[in-house]
């Protein structure tokens, strides 16, 4: 039987612009291509700038994971200039990054991912009282009443019968792949709406410390939000109690809404625990330095660093950044005089070489080069990054909290650990991580208050603020595990200016194209791993698996070399 070429472009409910092409055969996906269709060239723009400004530029790589590039950038510069930030600043950054992770994961689950599993229209057929009963059996959340669900259903009814479905237009409603009973659909829709309000509120933690969200402000050497209990314009008891309330609010929602919903919905989609695994290698660089220690102290990270190879959870392989290479065989770039296994980021080149068809085009899968993503490989192997990678590395490293929650999830769903290597596993790992981070924020908050109580209010180290204190040349590496996976920034400073800036980011790993040996990237590999596609014109299955990665395309597409080659090679047309 002939294969059907299927194009999904745009992939919606993600950050940025992603195109997926597959070949379908007998209801299954036989081959897949992931193509990133946006390029911005931010690292070129970094050249010659003040390194203390770099966080603001790189932060604008992505407005969804809005703090991770800023923190990675600050750390890269702090590493280069040998700056140690005060413990309070580490805690504040953890709180900001923690709330980002929690809020981002919840938004991902309800607003970006849920519509792949939840049939909004089916919720109209639900019995609200029955929905209330089910919800109450899952959690003590105060809104779990029949009256509440009835009100939501009426709101939905009014919306649907207006005939103007807005963002729900042309959804795949009624598709046989939707398995939830109407009542669970109604619960999910109610929580979709509640999460919209919740995310707006909890993110105010960023506003308190960073002045705004998206794109809160950071500072090389610490944080700008001074602590003074006796001033109206600083972090004082009023601000602290607001922060505490927000952390509490985040945790309650995660424990009483997100986690129960995840488990309930997953229970209806257990078949997805054997679909969409793909690349069997997982990489985490680690996340959340312990307060009082430094991000360079990789022994004391809350989520540890390491690599899982070939789905083997008995062993964590240490990560060595020297083994990272990037290839461009199938990317719209060219290397000059580079070895076949690609280049380490420090030697990276970026010469865009667009060879694709002239827009508008139809298919791109016949092209040798088909994306703006490079193909990063670790020791020659493709790697998946993200919450699943982090939870697997933590699980295999013996992380108590992770083991307990993974155990709870596997037990409730009655599946074995192998179920983790799947589309469903990816989605579940994100929820596990969210619960743990939300809980951990309480600890960080207590730590911050304890330090203030003991008279430590420092938030900034100004010893190396003045460029006259800097060495003539310096080089630094800043990393963290962002919501979507392992992130690294490399900076080179010469005479007080950035001379080279590089980022290796989560979605480059995950959305990587094939490499010279033909190994597919994680998106591509997951789509051909026991992957169904029942109706090629309603590719809901593709969305499920791709969304389980939480793509962030703007992050993935970047330039590894800030030497300015690009400027001379781009042909400017009118």
């Amino acid at each position: 039987m002939a294969r059907t070429k299927v194009v999904v472009d745009p992939i919606t409910r993600i950050e940025g612009h992603l195109r997926i092409e597959v070949q379908a055969e007998n209801g299954m996906i036989a081959d897949a291509w992931a193509s990133s269709t946006q390029f911005r060239g931010i690292e070129i723009i970094m050249n010659g700038r003040d390194p203390r400004d770099a966080w603001a530029f790189t932060q604008r790589i992505c407005g969804v994971c809005t703090v991770v590039h800023a923190i990675a950038s600050c750390r890269a510069v702090e590493d280069a200039l040998d700056i140690t930030i005060p413990p309070n600043a580490t805690i504040i950054r953890n709180l900001v990054h923690g709330m980002q992770t929690v809020q981002d994961h919840v938004i991902h689950f309800y607003h970006l991912h849920a519509l792949d599993w939840v049939d909004v229209v089916s919720a109209l057929k639900a019995d609200p009282d029955r929905a209330g009963q089910i919800a109450r059996s899952l959690s003590p959340w105060p809104n779990n009443s029949g009256t509440y669900f009835k009100a939501v259903q009426e709101k939905l009814q009014k919306f649907v019968s207006s005939g103007q479905l807005g963002i729900f237009t042309n959804g795949y409603w009624g598709h046989p792949a939707y398995k939830l009973p109407p009542e669970v659909n109604l619960i999910a829709v109610a929580h979709y709406l509640e999460a919209l309000d919740w995310q707006r509120d909890v993110i105010r933690l960023h506003t308190i410390f960073g002045g705004k969200n998206p794109h809160p402000n950071f500072l090389v050497g610490g944080m700008a939000s001074a602590i003074n209990l006796d001033d109206t314009g600083t972090i004082n008891a009023e601000r602290l109690s607001d922060i505490k309330a927000l952390i509490d609010k985040a945790l309650v929602f995660v424990e009483q809404v997100y986690w129960p919903d995840l488990l309930a919905i997953a229970g209806f989609y257990k078949d997805w625990a054997s679909i969409g695994g793909g690349v069997p290698n997982y990489l985490a660089v680690g996340m959340f330095p312990a307060a009082g220690s430094d991000f360079r102290d990789i022994e004391h990270l809350y989520f540890p660093r390491g690599i899982i190879l070939d789905n083997d959870l008995t062993k964590v392989v240490p990560y060595d950044e020297q083994k990272v290479r990037e290839e461009v065989m199938h990317s719209w770039y060219e290397y000059q005089g580079a070895p076949a296994e690609g280049l380490h980021p420090y030697e990276g080149q970026t010469v865009p070489n667009y060879t694709g068809p002239k827009p508008p085009w139809t298919f791109i899968q016949d092209q040798e080069k088909y994306t703006w993503m490079k193909a990063p490989r670790y020791d020659g192997k493709p790697m998946e990054v993200g919450p699943l990678a982090r939870m697997l590395v933590a699980y295999a490293s013996g992380h108590e909290g992770v083991k307990a929650l993974v155990g709870e999830a596997l037990g409730k769903l009655q599946v074995g650990p192998a179920a983790l290597f799947s589309t469903l596993g990816r989605t579940a790992a994100r929820a596990i991580e969210t619960v743990l981070v939300a809980r951990k924020m309480e600890d960080w908050y207590d730590d911050l208050v304890g330090r203030i109580k003991n008279g430590d209010v420092a938030t900034f180290n100004d010893q190396k603020w003045d460029p006259s204190t800097w060495p003539a040349t310096a080089r630094g590496y800043g990393y963290l595990d962002a919501a979507r996976g392992a992130l690294g920034h490399w900076v080179e400073i010469q005479n007080g200016q950035i001379s080279r800036y590089q980022c290796v980011v989560p979605s480059t790993w995950n959305c990587s194209p094939r490499d010279a040996e033909g190994q597919k990237g994680p998106y591509e590999a997951s789509l051909v791993d026991n992957h169904p596609l029942v109706k090629p014109d309603q590719p809901i299955e593709i969305l499920r698996t791709i969304h389980s990665f939480d793509p962030c395309m703007a992050c993935g597409v970047h330039v590894l070399d800030a030497e300015g080659d690009l400027v001379t090679t781009v042909k400017v047309q009118g």
Partner: protein, 390 residues
């Protein structure tokens, strides 16, 4: 007879459908419209228009294009508190295309877009986030195989109003910073035949975005704009003139370094590079995220993100003055100026010494030659002048 209480207007039905279901004929309806027009003092020629407007009393269609960008502006819109995003999407507008939120993907999404553009041609509000890369024929951002420019031009053609939301749509933002590798430009560089409202900021405050939409829906016209086409209700005053730390500025009380005593008193951030004096934005008044705080309120200087090309004109962010190109970051205008002033003084002093030496030499020559120069002391130039007249 029509009783509103017993014959409720079904939610979602247009007025036309509602009246039809109540047994009101098209003829009666047009007659009603004519009478209404007469009451409002409208020409009878406008009756069909009025009828159409009343019949189609629906949630207005909004199409949101995401082009070359970081999605921060969509995230910001999600944070709006009045109206909330749920209220906006479910009750106030019909958000017919929004890639980050919509259920459909691929061709289903594209057909939703095409349908909305067709059904509401000339009536929909077009919101654009992201810039348009022009280099190499636009291949740096494509959606569904089409370039950002192509998509924008098509969508703008049928739009009643175009809102360029965020710094990217305003002027290209960070990707348009020097050297602008992809030749990114803002919406108003592409859409020239109709007014483009720039809702500036990186990102703009959520409520500024939604308030502009609400303004259009409520008052039936776009808000008044400033010289850069930003709504005056939000961008009509300078941060510096609305700042909660202005009193410290006037008092001469400045933060000299982050986390110093002055910072812990929330003094003015002017000296650590605050761009409030050059930036028009509602941050101090509207504040961010449900009026929680704002950048200066949280101790960080303003970056000036509502101003065109701020990545180049407002950097370095931690210095008040822009960088002098061609010199290192430390070589600010003042050090160069001071060096030149010292140089000028030194040059003048050296010149004076040489002049003095020359004069002494001439005087000696004069003393041995003509025997004195009278009351004027025989100045060197005097001697020179005599030579000059020889």
């Amino acid at each position: 007879m029509y009783f509103p209480l017993t014959d409720p207007w079904e939610p979602g039905a247009t007025l036309g459908e509602h009246l039809h279901s109540r047994g009101v004929s098209r003829r009666d309806f047009l007659q009603f419209c004519g009478e209404m027009g007469a009451i409002l003092g409208l020409s009878s020629l406008l009756t069909p228009k009025l009828a159409k407007a009343l019949e189609q009393l629906q949630r207005p269609s909004v199409i949101w294009l995401s082009l070359q960008e970081c999605t921060g502006c969509t995230e910001s819109a999600l944070r709006t508190s009045h109206p909330t995003i749920g209220d906006l999407v479910l009750n106030l507008i019909s958000l017919d295309y929004q890639e980050n939120l919509q259920a459909a993907a691929g061709s289903a999404a594209e057909s939703a877009l095409q349908q909305a553009m067709k059904d509401h041609h000339g009536e929909y509000v077009l919101i654009v986030t992201g810039s348009v890369p022009l280099a190499e024929g636009g291949i740096y951002t494509t959606i569904g195989g089409r370039t950002a420019r192509d998509i924008l031009e098509e969508a703008a053609a049928g739009a009643a109003a175009v809102l360029a939301v965020g710094a990217c749509a305003h002027f290209g933002s960070v990707q348009a910073a020097a050297p602008n590798p992809t030749r990114a430009v803002g919406v108003d560089q592409i859409v020239k035949d109709k007014p483009v409202v720039n809702i500036a900021g990186c990102p703009p405050i959520a409520d500024t975005i939604t308030a502009t939409v609400v303004h259009y829906l409520t008052f039936g016209r776009l808000p008044d704009l400033d010289y850069d086409h930003r709504p005056l209700f939000a961008y009509g005053a300078r941060i510096h003139d609305q700042c909660s730390r202005r009193a410290n500025f006037d008092a001469g009380q400045f933060v000299k370094a982050f986390d110093d005593e002055a910072a812990r008193k929330a003094w003015c951030l002017y000296e650590v590079g605050c761009k409030g004096p050059a930036t028009f934005s509602p941050c101090p008044i509207f504040q961010w995220n449900g009026e929680t705080s704002w950048p200066i309120g949280a101790g960080h200087p303003c970056l000036g993100c509502t101003e065109r090309m701020f990545w180049d004109t407002m950097t370095p962010f931690y210095q008040r003055m822009p960088k002098v190109s061609g010199f290192g970051i430390e070589s600010t205008a003042d050090t160069i100026g001071a060096a030149l002033a010292v140089g000028a003084t030194a040059g003048v002093a050296a010149h004076a010494v040489v002049t003095g030496v020359n004069r002494m030499r001439h005087r000696k020559e004069g003393a041995s030659g003509s025997g004195g120069g009278g009351p004027d002391g025989g100045s060197a130039s005097h001697e020179e002048d005599r030579h000059g007249q020889d």
